[in-house]
Symmetry: C2
Subunit: 400 residues, 2 copies
């Protein structure tokens, strides 16, 4: 009786592994500012709660395996407003968050032992889902020096091997906040077409793009209808992470038939949350605008505050709500732990996600950290100030 | 660009594959009695709806990855009342239905290419989940002739190979309704201990045991704490299938650490449904008694009505809400389809799940069907009458 190799190879979550130390700090009365996890504090639109408070239901039955019809229609309508066409009955399936959508995508496109190509750094939970499915990542590098832009066509192309089944990309990027330009997207598309690869596009942060920039979805690129799998989620878009409602959209009929098989096996996604989520799409454009503006203020704040800290290498993230700076230390995990166990400013400290867990076969992340700017500007300012003081003290302690 | 072999090998759900024909029949105005799917019509206790209607929440945040604390406590309390001890903080994780609990169990205990031992027939969605995880089933047979009792120790023992990682059993059984005696359970336990296998026990139908029989849980057997993984769900127990709330309980620390990794990667289970589910466990014992009595009436009804049909081979299921009779025809799938497309009695017909999909490497199921007795007694009586008339006509048509 053993624990399977594939599970043993899964590290503890980069985002949550220090949680026990945070819990301990809190138990001792410390206040902990959480920059480690991308859980937005924005209010969920009241439409969600209104819908579930007005439920008239006697038996909480299974929803259809592919999702509640009205929610699929709302999702299609949302895309249509963006100029993207998906048929709500045949090309969209509701999933338990984008996590399940990714699980379905990987199982359907990859054989055991194959590889999914993505960029370093990448969302750490991808790795766990890869290992669950018996596959491994393959990566090309992006760097903090140029704000994690994608490398040139030749570099991406050279990273494809016989084993590559698909390219997976998160855009806007978790963990870096990079928003890829149309040119960058077309670089990936060119490689995918030339090498005959699927494209799995994780666009859950699509509403979080700053400075008035226009987000370019993979679904707007012509000629890749058969190879594109679009993952999405209401979690960040509507500050509704707890609903666990995502979706998978795809025009490839065979793939969709595969996703239906996988959706059928787990029977359905939670009914009540789907009913609530259906109403979310009725919020006004004003809602998105306000949320977007709030996150842009936070982005500006974290960028400005981090700029003031000596030795921190940063860039200006254009989207999502993450920044992945390089810190003037050697081991960000040790530092992150120390911040929780040994440091505070007037009883307050900060929790960050060490960068190492967002990289595959790379040491670059050792002195990096992912910071989620999911706090209001005032708290964020305080948190980064504490981080700066922490860095100063830690550097002295380590003679850095 | 291909669809992966593992997904190609997944058949369309035995339970739902004829749904398009049922939809067509309904579109033509036919009434279809659904005996194909185990979706109970019993009312969800009001406690669930009351809890979610009284939600006071601004932001629908992620629940903890291992589940809402109160729900874990309620689950532990439920077990404690049955004389089963699980620590709510360390030995129980809330999952998206028992389906996800099974997914976690399989990924954690099996290497790619290994086998899970179960009995023929088995719940057809097991197969899909096996294939998702890169493993295959291995089976020993049970037969309609003796009401699907487990075979003797030697037969079970002989079915274990080098590749076997675990024994998976559903008790009470989906699809047969068999409830295994303590002796049968100990037979499996003996093999598991001798061969050093995990035991994955799917006990979601534990409240559906008839004729006053006492249900024996694997968790009541001493000496297997380290190898037992208990899957459970509120779906059938509380007529709350749509909540997608299940759990995995286990005393093996290493396994639990593995499940936590897997739970963390998918972030959380739906928050609102967990809040509702927490309240369900406050229903009175009377609730279980009433539901149980109702299903016993239905079991009696379907048994009696099927007994009247010429050539149908049956037995008395002791639990769950399924019966798996042998029909006096050659191809139950063709018959099931024909019932939807070509047959009705005064505009009414019946949908059944063909038996073949519940078997691995066996033709035995070809003339069997799984019937779920999830209709009230009156409808059930009508449905089985229609089934009998259908069989009569179909037999003539096929010269049987």
């Amino acid at each position: 009786m053993n624990i399977s190799q594939r599970v043993q190879e899964i590290p503890y979550s980069a985002i949550r592994k220090l949680t026990p130390y945070a819990d301990e700090a809190k138990a001792k009365g410390k206040k902990v500012y959480h920059l480690n996890i991308g859980a937005p504090d924005t209010k969920t639109p009241e439409e969600f709660f209104y819908a579930i408070k007005n439920l008239d239901m006697k038996t909480l039955s299974y929803a259809p395996s592919i999702g509640v019809k009205e929610l699929r229609e709302q999702t299609a309508k949302y895309y249509k407003n963006k100029g993207i066409d998906f048929d709500s009955d045949k090309e969209i399936i509701i999933t338990a968050g984008a996590s399940e959508a990714l699980l379905f995508a990987i199982i359907a496109v990859s054989e055991i032992g194959e590889r999914i190509l993505t960029c370093n750094p990448f969302y750490s939970n991808y790795y766990t889902i890869f290992r669950e499915c018996g596959i491994k990542p393959q990566t090309f590098d992006t760097t903090v020096e140029d704000g994690y832009r994608l490398p040139d066509y030749e570099t991406i192309k050279a990273s494809v091997t016989e084993q590559t089944a698909a390219i997976l990309i998160s855009n806007p990027s978790n963990p870096t906040g990079a928003v890829y330009t149309e040119d960058e997207i077309r670089r990936l598309v060119r490689v995918a077409v030339e090498e005959d690869l699927y494209i799995i596009a994780d666009e859950v942060y699509r509403e979080f793009v700053f400075d008035g920039a226009k987000f370019k979805s993979f679904a707007e690129i012509e000629g890749i209808e058969d190879r594109l799998i679009l993952l999405d989620s209401i979690s960040k878009r509507f500050g509704a992470c707890g609903a666990r409602i995502g979706s998978i959209a795809c025009k490839n009929k065979e793939l969709m038939a595969s996703f239906v098989k996988l959706a059928t096996a787990r029977l359905a996604v939670a009914t009540v949350e789907q009913i609530g989520a259906t109403q979310l799409y009725d919020v006004s454009e004003e809602y998105f605008k306000e949320v977007n503006e709030e996150y842009q203020r936070r982005r500006d704040c974290i960028y400005n505050e981090l700029s003031k800290i000596d030795g921190v290498k940063i860039y200006k993230p254009e989207g999502a709500f993450y920044i992945m700076p390089q810190l003037p230390i050697e081991d960000a995990e040790d530092f992150a732990k120390w911040m929780l166990t040994d440091f505070d400013v007037d009883g307050e400290t900060v929790m960050i996600a060490p960068g190492f867990g967002f990289y595959h076969n790379s040491e670059v992340g050792r002195n990096q950290a992912r910071l989620a700017f999911v706090l209001n500007v005032e708290d964020l300012k305080k948190a980064i100030k504490i981080l700066g003081l922490g860095l100063e003290k830690y550097k002295k302690l380590k003679n850095l």
